[in-house]
């Protein structure tokens, strides 16, 4: 039963106030993209054992989407940040590096 920090409400809120939205930082491929690109965009997921970035919406709350950097093995949360960005902010990367040296996720790394 997760508790995540809503970066908008500045409050730790429990999972029942939240809606999970799946993998974050997906790059959208629309018309003109190749079959492989479109397939990977929709269906190929990281599914890592370890550091993961995922979307959450504070649905029973401010209604805003944010991103959580979380470990899928221990459920440790490295931090949360607003969803309006294409890659994790540096402070999150630093924080993960501190705890999981050598981590990588898609094209991102510490």
């Amino acid at each position: 039963m997760l508790m995540l920090h809503c970066p908008f409400c500045d409050e730790y809120v429990e999972e029942t106030e939240l809606q999970a939205g799946g993998e974050a930082h997906l790059k959208r491929f629309g018309p003109g993209s190749s079959d492989d690109e479109f397939h990977d965009y929709l269906f190929t997921r990281e599914n890592p054992k370890g550091v993961h970035f995922e979307l959450w919406r504070h649905i029973n709350g401010c209604g805003k989407w944010f991103i959580a950097a979380r470990c899928t093995v221990t459920l440790e949360v490295f931090g949360t940040y607003p969803a309006n960005c294409t890659e994790p902010p540096q402070w999150i990367k630093d924080k993960i590096s501190e705890k999981r040296p050598g981590w990588t996720w898609r094209e991102f790394a510490g």
């Binding site: 409400c9 809120v13 709350g61 401010c62």
Partner: protein, 188 residues
């Protein structure tokens, strides 16, 4: 032509706490840049209140403003004035990116008062209602059992709850169940 009616027409229940449907209130969803002077002065002009801080409700002489999200306020005004207030906001904010919508009739409102008010709330919402964490002027959006709701505490220690109109009966029934006279928890 007709008298507008609230979802539960002022229903009441007395148990551990007093639960009351508080009838129709004017409510306006205002979306925009809460840091902008335009919004600040518009809010002030229609409610007399400042733009509230995070998770707070700010009271003014003509109403109140509650923090709903980083780009949304709930303005509380007289029911009869709501459309006029929206018009005023439209006027004041013209040219900016904003949205002001009268949602007065979309809601059901309740008050929960009495010594055990914190406890009754604590049976339904996953929120820390201890005095240290929730006091007068605090405003929170969360869920009560299975529906979304917003609530705040007034100076007298009573809670005010706003939920969607369609689930007003559910909310009232929930509060009734949670305020069963023999269900005091006794922790606050």
């Amino acid at each position: 032509m007709s008298d507008p009616v609230s979802a539960l027409k002022g229903a009441r229940h007395a148990g551990l706490v007093e639960v009351r449907e508080t009838g129709l209130g004017g409510m306006i969803t205002l979306r925009g840049d809460l840091d902008s002077d335009a919004i600040k002065s518009a809010v002030k002009s229609v409610t007399g209140a400042d733009v509230p801080a995070l998770r707070k409700i700010a009271l003014g002489d003509a109403g109140a403003a509650a923090w709903m999200s980083p780009d949304e306020l709930l303005l509380l005004v007289d029911y009869a004035e709501a459309d006029a207030v929206v018009a005023k906001l439209d006027e004041a904010l013209v040219g900016t990116h904003y949205m002001a919508t009268n949602v007065s009739d979309a809601r059901a409102c309740f008050s929960v008062s009495g010594e055990a008010a914190r406890e009754v709330m604590g049976k339904l919402a996953p929120v820390d209602f201890s005095a240290a964490k929730f006091g007068a002027g605090d405003f929170r959006r969360s869920r009560l059992a299975q529906v979304a709701a917003a609530f705040w505490m007034d100076d007298a220690g009573a809670f005010h709850i706003v939920c969607f109109r369609s689930v007003g009966q559910y909310m009232f029934d929930l509060l009734k169940v949670a305020s069963h006279p023999q269900s005091a928890v006794g922790v606050y």
